[in-house]
C-alpha cells in the first residue's frame, strides 16, 4: 500500500524527518508513537502533500505510484486521507455540502459521474449513523463551534465518506474524553478492511486499547528508532520514551 524509503524532509532550512523507512500493507494498522517534536505530524503532512514541507531525498509510493510532485488533492484522489489534529473551521459551508463537494471532486478526478443528490444523501445518512452522528449536525457549518469531540468525530465521518485506501489519523485521541474516544475508535474499527490501511499517530497508548495496531513504530528526532508489535506500545506506556532517546544518543 504505502512504501516510504529513506525519506528526508523539512521546512525551510531545518530538517525534520531524517530518513524514514516505512512499509504499510493493505489490511494493516500501524501506530506511530513518539515524544512531542519527534516529527509525527510532519510525517503525516508530508505523506498528504502539504506544500510548505520540502522533501529533499527519499521516496514515497502509494500502490506503486510515486507521490512526488503530486498536490494534496491529487493524493486524496488516489486514496490518501489525513484526519487532522486541528480541523479547520469553515463558516457558511455545511458538513453536507462540503462532503458533497469533496466526494464529487474526487469522483470527477477518477473519471466518474457526479453522484446523484438522493444517493449522496442516503450515503451521508448511512455513514452518519455509523459514527452516531445526529442529523442536525450535518447541516451545521463545517467545524464551526464544534467541540473537540465533535470535530474528531466529524473527521472520521469524512473518512467514512471518502473511503480512503490509506487513512492517517493524526492525534485523533487528543482532546477527547473516554466516551468520545470510544465512539471515534469504534467508527475507525468499522472502517477497517483487508483493502485499506490505517496509520494511527498518537502520543499515548490509550487510543491503541481501542484501535489495536498490527505494528508500532517509535519516532524520535525524525527517525524510526524502534518498531515492534502492539506490546511495544505497552512497554512505552510503562517506561516512557526516555530509554529510547538514550539509546539513540549513544
Amino acid at each position: 500500500m504505502l512504501k516510504v524509503s529513506n525519506l528526508v524532509a523539512g521546512i525551510e532550512e531545518s530538517t525534520i524527518l531524517n530518513g524514514i523507512d516505512l512499509e504499510v500493507n493493505a489490511g494493516e494498522v500501524h501506530a506511530i508513537m513518539g515524544p512531542n517534536g519527534s516529527g509525527k505530524s510532519t510525517l503525516a503532512s508530508v505523506i498528504a502533500g502539504k506544500e510548505e514541507y520540502e522533501v529533499t531525498s527519499g521516496k514515497m509510493e502509494l500502490l506503486g505510484e510515486d507521490l512526488e510532485g503530486l498536490s494534496p488533492e491529487e493524493r486524496a484522489h488516489m486514496g490518501v486521507f489525513l484526519s487532522f489534529q486541528y480541523p479547520v473551521e469553515i463558516p457558511g459551508v455545511t458538513v453536507t455540502n462540503f462532503m458533497r463537494t469533496a466526494l464529487n471532486e474526487t469522483r470527477k478526478a477518477r473519471g466518474l459521474e457526479e453522484m446523484p443528490a438522493n444517493e449522496m444523501l442516503k450515503l451521508i445518512r448511512e455513514k452518519a449513523e455509523l459514527l452516531e452522528i445526529d442529523r442536525k449536525f450535518l447541516s451545521r457549518s463545517l467545524n464551526e463551534g464544534f467541540s473537540g469531540g465533535e470535530k474528531k468525530r466529524n473527521e472520521i465521518f469524512q473518512m467514512a465518506m471518502m473511503e480512503p485506501k490509506l487513512a492517517i489519523l493524526d492525534e485523533t485521541d487528543s482532546g477527547l474524553d473516554i466516551d468520545a474516544l470510544r465512539i471515534v475508535a469504534e467508527g475507525v474499527n468499522k472502517l477497517r478492511s483487508k483493502d485499506n490501511a490505517i496509520i494511527v499517530i498518537t502520543h499515548y497508548q490509550r487510543l491503541l486499547d481501542y484501535i489495536v495496531p498490527d505494528y508500532v513504530h517509535v519516532l524520535h528526532q525524525g527517525k524510526i528508532v524502534k518498531s515492534g508489535t502492539k506490546e511495544l506500545a505497552l512497554e512505552l506506556e510503562d517506561k516512557g520514551y526516555d530509554w529510547l532517546k538514550q539509546k539513540t544518543t549513544v
Binding site: E73, V80, P91, T106
Partner: protein, 436 residues
C-alpha cells in the same frame, strides 16, 4: 475644457430644460455655485487621500446623453428576475416605462422627475428633498443637475409586498457619458421596504455616475437596502447615500462591490432618535486594476442607539481598496453601542488596501469597538480542504465564502443571496454546485 468647466458652463442650458418655477430651482443654483467654488475633490483632502478623480476629469463626457433603447431580454440577467418586484429603470439617465413596473396604489414607487414637477408631491419634496445631505462637493454637483431618479414614498404602516429594484443602464448611445441620478426614499412611521440598486454599463464607452440617494426612515420603520456593484472596467461610480433615522427604526445597507473601474461609496447614517439600529455591511471582491473606496460615517446624535459595521474585502491582482469608517458619538448620545469590523485578504502581492477607523467620541458611557485586519489566505485551511480532494482553486473559493459569509447571512432576500453567491463563484472562476 476640463470636466468642471464643461459642467459649470452647461448648467444654464440644463436649467432651461427644466421647470424654472420648481421649488428646487434655488437649491440647484446654490449647489452649482458651491460646486464651482470647490470643484472636484482632490487627494489633498483627507477624505479623498486614496482615491483620485483626476483621470476621470480628462475624459470628454457627454453630460446630457441621448436615450438608448433596450429589450428586456438584453438586460434580464442584471435584474433579480427570479422574483416578483417593482422596477424603476433608467436607460442613459432617462426613465424607461417599458422596462419599469411602478405603482401609486397606497404608496408611490415612481420617478423623481414627476415628484419634482407635480403639485401632489410638493409637500414631500419641500419636507425632504436635499435635507439629509452634507456639504459635499460631489453631492452639490448632483443637486445642481438633479432631475431624474427613483422616488419612493411609503406611507405610515405600509409595506410593498415585493422588493424594489432601481436599475440604471448605460448604452453609450453617444460617446462617454456622465450620469447623475437622484433618488429620494421616504419611509413613514412603521413602513417597510427592501430596495436593490444597480448601475450597469452595457457598452465599451466610458461611464461616470455620480449618484445621490437620500433616505428617511421614520419611527419604527424598517429599511433593507442592497447595492450591487459589478460594473464593467470602464464604469466609475461615486455613490453618495444619506440615511436619516428616527427612533426605533432599523436601516441596513449592504454594499457588494465586485466590479467597476473606480467606485467610491460615501455612506452616511444620521441617528436622530433613540433605540435606532444602523447596519452597514459590505463584501468587496476585486481583481485587475479595480479600485473601491468605502467611506462610511455613522453619527450617533441621540442616546441608546446601535450601529453595526462589517466590511470584508478580498483583493487580487493589482486591485486597491480603501475602508475609512468614521463614527461620531455626540456628548448626549450616552449608552451608544457602535461596532465596526473591517477584515481584508490580499491574494496578490500587488494588491493593496488601506483601512482606517476614525472614532470621535464625546460621550463617556458608550461601547465602541473596532477592528481591522489585513492578511493572506490561511494555508492550513487550504491544505485541509485540499486533503479532502477539493482542488486548490475550489478550496480557495470555499475559503473566500467562509470569510465573507457572515455578511451574506444578514441578506434577507434569498434570491439576492443566491445571486451574490453566483457572482462570487463567477469572479473566482469556480462552480461549487451548491448554494452556500
Amino acid at each position: 475644457m476640463d470636466l468642471k468647466e464643461k459642467i459649470v458652463s452647461s448648467f444654464l442650458a440644463f436649467e432651461d430644460s427644466v421647470d424654472l418655477d420648481s421649488s428646487v430651482h434655488e437649491l440647484r443654483s446654490e449647489a452649482i455655485k458651491k460646486f464651482e467654488d470647490h470643484g472636484f475633490p482632490t487627494k489633498k483632502e483627507e477624505a479623498w487621500k486614496y482615491t483620485s478623480l483626476n483621470a476621470l476629469q480628462k475624459v470628454d463626457f457627454s453630460l446630457f446623453p441621448k436615450e438608448g433603447a433596450l429589450d428586456y431580454k438584453e438586460v434580464k440577467s442584471y435584474f433579480l428576475h427570479e422574483i416578483d418586484s417593482y422596477k424603476i429603470v433608467f436607460i442613459d439617465g432617462v426613465y424607461s416605462s417599458y422596462l419599469s413596473e411602478t405603482t401609486h396604489e397606497g404608496m408611490d414607487i415612481c420617478l423623481m422627475s414627476a415628484a419634482l414637477t407635480k403639485p401632489t408631491y410638493k409637500a414631500v419634496i419641500d419636507n425632504y428633498f436635499n435635507k439629509a445631505v452634507k456639504d459635499d462637493s460631489m453631492t452639490h454637483l448632483n443637486t445642481a443637475f438633479s432631475k431624474e431618479g427613483a422616488y419612493i414614498y411609503i406611507p405610515k404602516g405600509k409595506a410593498p409586498h415585493k422588493p424594489i429594484q432601481i436599475m440604471h443602464f448605460s448604452t453609450g448611445s453617444e460617446a462617454a457619458q456622465m450620469l447623475q441620478p437622484r433618488n429620494l426614499i421616504v419611509l413613514e412611521e412603521g413602513a417597510e421596504a427592501q430596495i436593490i440598486e444597480r448601475h450597469q454599463n452595457l457598452t465599451k464607452n466610458e461611464v461616470f455616475t455620480n449618484v445621490v440617494t437620500e433616505i428617511f426612515v421614520a419611527e419604527r420603520a424598517n429599511l433593507d437596502y442592497y447595492k450591487v456593484q459589478n460594473d464593467r472596467d470602464n464604469a466609475s461610480l461615486v455613490d453618495n447615500t444619506y440615511i436619516d433615522q428616527k427612533s426605533n427604526s432599523v436601516a441596513s445597507v449592504h454594499t457588494f462591490s465586485f466590479g467597476g473601474k473606480l467606485v467610491r461609496n460615501n455612506l452616511n447614517f444620521y441617528q436622530d432618535g433613540s433605540r435606532i439600529d444602523s447596519v452597514l455591511k459590505g463584501i468587496t471582491l476585486l481583481g485587475e486594476k479595480q479600485h473601491v473606496d468605502h467611506y462610511t460615517l455613522v453619527h450617533h446624535a441621540q442616546p441608546n442607539c446601535e450601529s453595526h459595521q462589517d466590511y470584508k474585502g478580498i483583493y487580487a491582482d493589482h486591485s486597491t481598496g480603501v475602508f475609512n469608517g468614521k463614527i461620531i458619538v455626540d456628548q448626549i448620545a450616552q449608552k451608544t453601542n457602535a461596532f465596526q469590523q473591517n477584515n481584508n485578504i490580499l491574494i496578490s502581492d500587488k494588491a493593496t488596501v488601506n483601512t482606517k477607523p476614525q472614532l470621535e467620541i464625546f460621550a463617556d458611557d458608550v461601547r465602541c469597538s473596532h477592528g481591522c485586519t489585513i492578511g493572506q489566505l490561511d494555508e492550513d485551511a487550504l491544505f485541509y480542504l485540499q486533503s479532502r480532494g477539493v482542488p486548490k482553486k475550489e478550496a480557495t473559493a470555499l475559503l473566500m465564502y467562509a470569510f465573507a459569509n457572515n455578511v451574506l447571512e444578514s441578506v434577507r432576500l434569498d434570491a439576492l443571496k443566491n445571486r451574490i453567491n453566483g457572482i462570487i463563484a463567477d469572479k473566482l472562476g469556480v462552480e461549487l454546485g451548491f448554494d452556500v
